[in-house]
């Protein structure tokens, strides 16, 4: 490598790192502010909390009134967990049918599925609300969870169809010769081979249901049913300007599951985004 090229590379690296740190600064500041005392939070733009305190976390965790953040986190984990399970099972079964099975009208239904992927959710919001209200599902987790058991996240069906189409068909054939039925092929051949795509499905289902706010706002009406996103909003409205420290502490906690997921399963993230163009 020539000297000027080396120098060039150095400057490009420097620019990328500086922009990157600039972008991360608000998040880093949020984390640091959650450990600062009330009187230094808004006077100190630095990233090292001096003095360092855990009070914000202790106070924030108690939440508002009788409902603490423990409840909000439990509710969020229940909803996200069930959605992840349902999406993995039902999106992959549907994808298997579209990618491998033969039946009349397949092209038609596949086109319909692709269209639903682009559909803005608003056109179904109000009728679904009326329907779920008639079922008596308001203020329960059912409106968030039940649709996933009917493979309504077309996006993941598409992702899995693409993945399954890339698998060699000979494996199905040999399993069939060994006496496997359609379900047998799905369980023994397709599921084990699609695990990377299933992990991508799990990750993004978790993130999107964890961050969901609109549906929780519509359907969850009492604080003991609130999720983390609703809990944060309640906290913001109830405490106003008095306790930004606790507000920040709970905000940081709410981001932890997403960060843990991201750092432990990074390669699936990059693969998932790069191969399917998952929206951000």
């Amino acid at each position: 490598m020539s000297k000027s090229l080396k120098e060039n590379t150095f400057w490009i690296n420097a620019v990328i790192i500086i922009i990157g740190l600039g972008m991360l600064y608000p998040v880093l500041w949020l984390i640091s502010a959650s450990f600062k005392e009330a009187n230094t939070i808004f006077t100190d733009p630095g990233l090292i909390p001096r003095p360092f305190t855990l009070q914000n976390y202790v106070k924030g965790w108690e939440g508002i009134g009788i409902v603490g953040f423990g409840t909000f986190f439990k509710n969020s984990f229940v909803i996200s967990g069930l959605c992840v399970i349902a999406n993995v099972i039902f999106c992959s079964i549907t994808a298997y049918a579209f990618a491998r099975l033969e039946f009349k009208g397949k092209k038609f239904w596949f086109a319909i599925m692709l269209i639903t992927m682009m559909l803005p959710g608003h056109v179904t919001t109000i009728p679904r609300y009326i329907m779920f209200r008639n079922f008596g599902w308001v203020n329960s987790i059912l409106p968030m969870v039940v649709p996933k058991f009917f493979a309504t996240d077309a996006f993941f069906i598409f992702l899995l169809v693409q993945f399954i189409r890339g698998l060699p068909k000979e494996l199905d054939e040999s399993a069939r010769i060994d006496g496997c039925g359609k379900f047998g092929i799905y369980i023994r051949i397709i599921v084990p081979l699609t695990i990377p795509a299933l992990i991508t499905t799990m990750i993004f289902t978790f993130l999107w249901t964890w961050d969901d706010f609109f549906n929780h706002l519509l359907y969850l009406t009492s604080p003991e049913k609130y999720t983390v996103s609703m809990g944060l909003r309640l906290f913001l409205d109830a405490t106003g300007i008095s306790s930004w420290g606790s507000m920040f502490a709970m905000s940081v906690l709410s981001l932890v599951p997403c960060l843990v997921l991201f750092f432990s399963l990074q390669k699936y993230f990059v693969k998932g985004i790069a191969t399917t163009g998952i929206k951000g």
């Binding site: 590379t9 949020l30 179904t124 919001t125 960060l259 790069a274």
Partner: protein, 308 residues
């Protein structure tokens, strides 16, 4: 008697359809039926407590009735205009940033995996209530942004989120900040461009800038186009950020009244569910037409060249 062959194909079809049943039921009950029902509701007055009352085109006339005080819904037109502005400012900016940074990173840097991680974090976290809360606090009059601007000598700084002139700007910034996802897609796309193209063109004496416009941009154009469509559809539906930053009001002075937020306020705040359904259909039509127009334009701009 049914011949064994037909019987077999019938059985084949039935067992296959069995795998499709959950999705099919979901489509019929949770998508198709609600769509038809909301289309019907859009021609009615409906407050959920009393049965819907047919009013013909009234809801649509109110939406686009212009400035007529008795007829027109200025707040609707304002929210539509604001949302269009948000979409067509934030999405192109986001994609331009994503592309520029991705191109910077392709110069065979060893640290690319680290950079990908770094730049993806805003996208990972940006959709959450927590970050919206942070944004609201950062751009407040006594927030972090003004604190820093004050330290470098600026004076008389506004409260960005409570000034109707700047509130939208903070939301655009929040959207552009999350350029990590298209950046990763562009990075993957850049690696697909054959190196020979660049080698051949530098032999012909083309500079970096020339190469960017003559090779990189055309080769990436299908990916850029796809991202534009997906980001546009997503941006039209933004809700959480505007809701949290404005405290659920779309304020100040409706300056952050995104389409989805206004739809929510109309449908669930004022219980005007017929009107909100009509709004949902107008949004669907707007998104569908813009997508169709983009496809039309893309035929001339996007090159789906054989190998490239």
């Amino acid at each position: 008697m049914i011949s064994p062959k037909i019987k077999k194909s019938l059985k084949e079809n039935i067992t296959s359809y069995a795998f499709l049943v959950p999705w099919l039921l979901g489509f019929l009950i949770l998508t198709l039926y609600p769509m038809i029902y909301s289309l019907y509701l859009s021609f009615t007055d409906f407050n959920i407590l009393q049965p819907p009352k047919w009013v013909g085109l009234k809801n649509f006339i109110i939406m686009f009735g212009g400035n007529d005080q008795h007829l027109g819904d200025e707040r609707f037109l304002n929210s539509l205009f604001i949302t269009l502005k948000y979409v067509f400012v934030s999405v192109p900016l986001k994609l331009i940033f994503a592309l520029l940074v991705a191109v910077l990173m392709t110069n065979k840097l060893r640290l690319v995996p680290l950079y990908r991680t770094l730049y993806y974090i805003p996208t990972l976290l940006g959709g959450s209530v927590a970050i919206a809360v942070l944004w609201r606090r950062m751009f407040a009059g006594d927030g972090l942004v003004n604190l820093i601007l004050g330290l470098v000598g600026f004076e008389n700084l506004p409260s960005w989120i409570s000034n109707p002139k700047y509130a939208m700007f903070t939301l655009v910034l929040l959207a552009v900040w999350q350029f990590g996802s298209p950046m990763i897609i562009f990075l993957a796309g850049l690696q697909q461009i054959p190196k020979e193209y660049y080698e051949a063109s530098s032999v012909d004496g083309a500079g970096k800038v020339r190469q960017f416009f003559a090779i990189t941009l055309p080769c990436l154009s299908p990916i850029i186009f796809f991202n534009f469509i997906m980001q546009m559809i997503g941006a039209f539906q933004s809700f959480t950020q505007a809701f949290i930053v404005s405290g659920g009001s779309g304020g100040p002075l409706d300056s952050t009244m995104f389409y989805s937020l206004y739809l929510y306020i109309k449908g669930f705040g004022f219980s005007e569910m017929g009107y909100a359904s009509a709004m949902a259909w107008v949004l669907l039509i707007i998104i569908a037409s813009l997508t169709a127009i983009s496809f039309k334009i893309s035929n001339t701009l996007v090159s789906y060249g054989g190998e490239g």
